[in-house]
Point group: C2
Chain length 433, copies 2
């Protein structure tokens, strides 16, 4: 029971080159073809894709007839979010991605040699502004890095028994707040909240003193099952559209005081950032790898064979205001204990209905060694081991003016493709709070 | 700092009678005027209200000119949910409710004496079908009954110290799954899931053995603050549209195994039922009462004066298939430790944006004595003290074929108004799971 036979997808052909110039270190070769939403310099909102530094207005491309023969509604790309397109399902995504690959193939003159059309369709990345790619339905955040769960358990509970007894049996997760999911580049207000200072009796309300990031990735679904039905793990791959980088901003003091017994709440719900371009699962196919061995063997509804993890290099940097950025974490999605397919099968295993434009976060992605931990909580071991910025200042947690930048890319001997950046600057708490 | 000065709202005049006949025990006198969505016998979906057993098509009423002078868009009631209407804000809700009260006043002949219009506008409740009143945005479930938290803490943790240290300082809550919120009458599939039988090592997957209900109420908001801003507690009442009954169906064995450390997840997300008519906060004004004394005094952002709880009589019944129902709980919303205003101020205190058609559940509403506990977990003390149905059968938890019926009403010496019912029948787990 392989989750998904590796289909020959022509858009993934590593030999194909585009007539749009692409640097060798770009995240957006013609083999990527991610989907996003942007506003052009003419103030028009459109669904688009990107090759190199060139953003492509798909609504204009469609209107000018380039999708002839692909069954699409007239206004499918004239939208301010990708929900309808994602809702159309995998057959549509693939047909569109394949056609885009053909249109921009270096040997295809149809648009390459039509200057008037190129002017209507193509925009330099500097001349557009990215918008939220989807109108988010439900948001779940998993906790699927065993290394992260081990670190957190060691810091807050028992270094001898850091993992709770359920961890190796069940993909732990919780429901998150969807209204506060924002696009990369949105400023992040330091939240205020209740916290109890360790060793002190007093409970106070004010700006968090332990502002943190969490380096995560997330997958986005199309509508799958009706309420009351489940999704066999072998069919889950049909319902995952693509992935983004996700920063699950966290206020550790607020979280520590509020979380028992019902889990994270206001320590998380003030903001979650995602990268603007959704990279399709089809584009990520060449980077499927084995996950870690699972012992004990998962229950049948979570059992999978084949390569179900993804080899995606990830990093987090902190850039103090006006200063150079410092990389504080380098890790990889391949470390995840529970795969995206196990996460989705688990989410639906009680009959919960999976909808179009749901977001499912991975949880913090920590690797096995220091340097690969995906949050300040782990990097500084809850503030006990501050780290140095390039300007010589220390960080236990984030300061106002700090920008956190997440990056992710895949690379093999033939191609490299990636996610761009997910960034957010910490702004001071609003006056009067 | 009173949360909301008790405004003279003419639609609440207890002396007013309608030309539509209303029984003295009806939940829907002319002083209620709740809002909902229904499909008529002509297969038309409309926003509506209800007086007695008569459902009123507000789109037809509007089209026939009865809202002249009230600033409303033409299609405001020609919708399959109340989101746009709720988004319009309190001024609109009040103007519409006041106008409806006038139109149906027994002394107003305008519609009363127009048989043709009455035929177009009025439907017997038997001839319509209620639909989900809103397209739900985010769903939070609080945990605001101190008695419920005490019972749960006694059952699962420490009867000597049942309340966690944060409980009296902070309105505990968690994010819930919004996709699986369904309208009263929807069948509820018994979910399958992982559970660990107490005392046994084995972990199995299968239909829950401890299917439970939770008697709750919920409030529904209009868009309030931008992300990063907060809502002063004295202004929260402007943003609450109304309330419904809510059944937070729970699978206790699944919940017990999964909930550490991130809180309730699949033990809850398979279904949540709400009653179809949203009763406005304006209609509930006459039933505001003092809440329990709060000691310790809440932090300033949660401090309120005046009557901030609501005197709403609540009950839960179980009706085995084809048998008589038995009331298993009688309680009251007035017992809640944290008010709806404190809940909303808390939710926004970290800058989380409150949106139109968010649902905020109260948490299980248990009263101080046995007989007033709002879940089977508490009523049977986790199955140790089974209860008898009227047909002589025992219940530790719910059986397939059982219907749970929640009811709620307010009553003073002048009027009675209520919420109707929130019901759901337990259906067996789908074959093959």
């Amino acid at each position: 029971m392989s989750n998904s036979p590796i289909v020959k997808i022509s858009a993934n052909d590593p030999k194909r080159k585009s007539w749009i110039k692409v640097n060798s270190y770009s995240d957006f070769p013609i083999q990527n073809i991610p989907f996003g939403v942007f506003i052009t310099k003419h103030d028009v909102i459109t669904i688009g894709t990107r090759i190199g530094k060139t953003c492509i207005d798909l609504a204009a491309l469609h209107q000018l007839g380039y999708f002839e023969g692909v069954p699409l509604t007239e206004d499918i790309f004239m939208q301010d979010n990708l929900n309808d397109f994602i809702d159309d399902g995998r057959k549509t995504w693939r047909a569109v991605r394949n056609r885009i690959a053909e249109i921009f193939d270096e040997n295809n003159p149809i648009l390459r040699d039509n200057e008037k059309h190129r002017e209507e369709i193509l925009f330099d990345e500097k001349d557009i502004e990215m918008l939220m790619p989807i109108s988010v339905n439900d948001y779940t955040d998993f906790y699927s890095s065993k290394e992260h769960a081990t670190n957190v358990g060691s810091i807050f509970r028992d270094p001898e028994n850091p993992l709770l007894p359920n961890y190796l049996h069940i993909p732990i997760g919780y429901h998150g707040r969807s209204s506060s999911i924002v696009i990369s580049g949105t400023g992040i207000r330091r939240p205020a909240g209740q916290r109890k200072t360790n060793g002190k009796k007093e409970i106070t309300f004010g700006p968090t003193k332990s502002m943190d990031f969490e380096l995560e990735m997330a997958f986005i679904t199309t509508g799958a099952n009706k309420l009351g039905n489940t999704i066999p793990i072998g069919e889950t791959d049909q319902y995952i559209f693509g992935m983004v980088l996700l920063n699950d901003w966290s206020a550790r003091d607020i979280q520590a005081w509020e979380y028992a017994p019902l889990g994270p709440f206001l320590g998380k719900s003030f903001a979650t950032s995602i990268s603007p371009w959704i990279v399709t699962m089809d584009a990520l196919q060449p980077f499927r790898v084995d996950g870690p061995e699972q012992d004990p063997k998962p229950l049948p509804y979570l059992r999978q064979t084949g390569k179900n993890n993804y080899d995606i290099n990830l990093s987090a940097s902190i850039k103090p205001k006006g200063k150079q950025e410092a990389v504080v974490c380098e890790t990889n999605l391949k470390h995840m204990y529970w795969s995206v397919y196990q996460q989705l099968a688990h989410q639906a295993s009680n009959g919960c209905n999976i909808c179009t434009a749901d977001i499912y976060g991975s949880g913090t992605i920590s690797g096995p060694e220091k340097g690969s931990f995906g949050s300040m909580l782990e990097i500084t071991w809850n503030g006990k081991e501050p780290i140095k910025m390039k300007d010589g200042t220390d960080r236990k947690f984030l300061k106002n003016g700090d920008t956190v930048i997440l990056r992710g890319y895949c690379k093999n001997d033939k191609i490299r493709l990636g996610f761009g950046e997910c960034r957010g600057i910490i702004k001071k708490t609003k006056e009067g709070i």
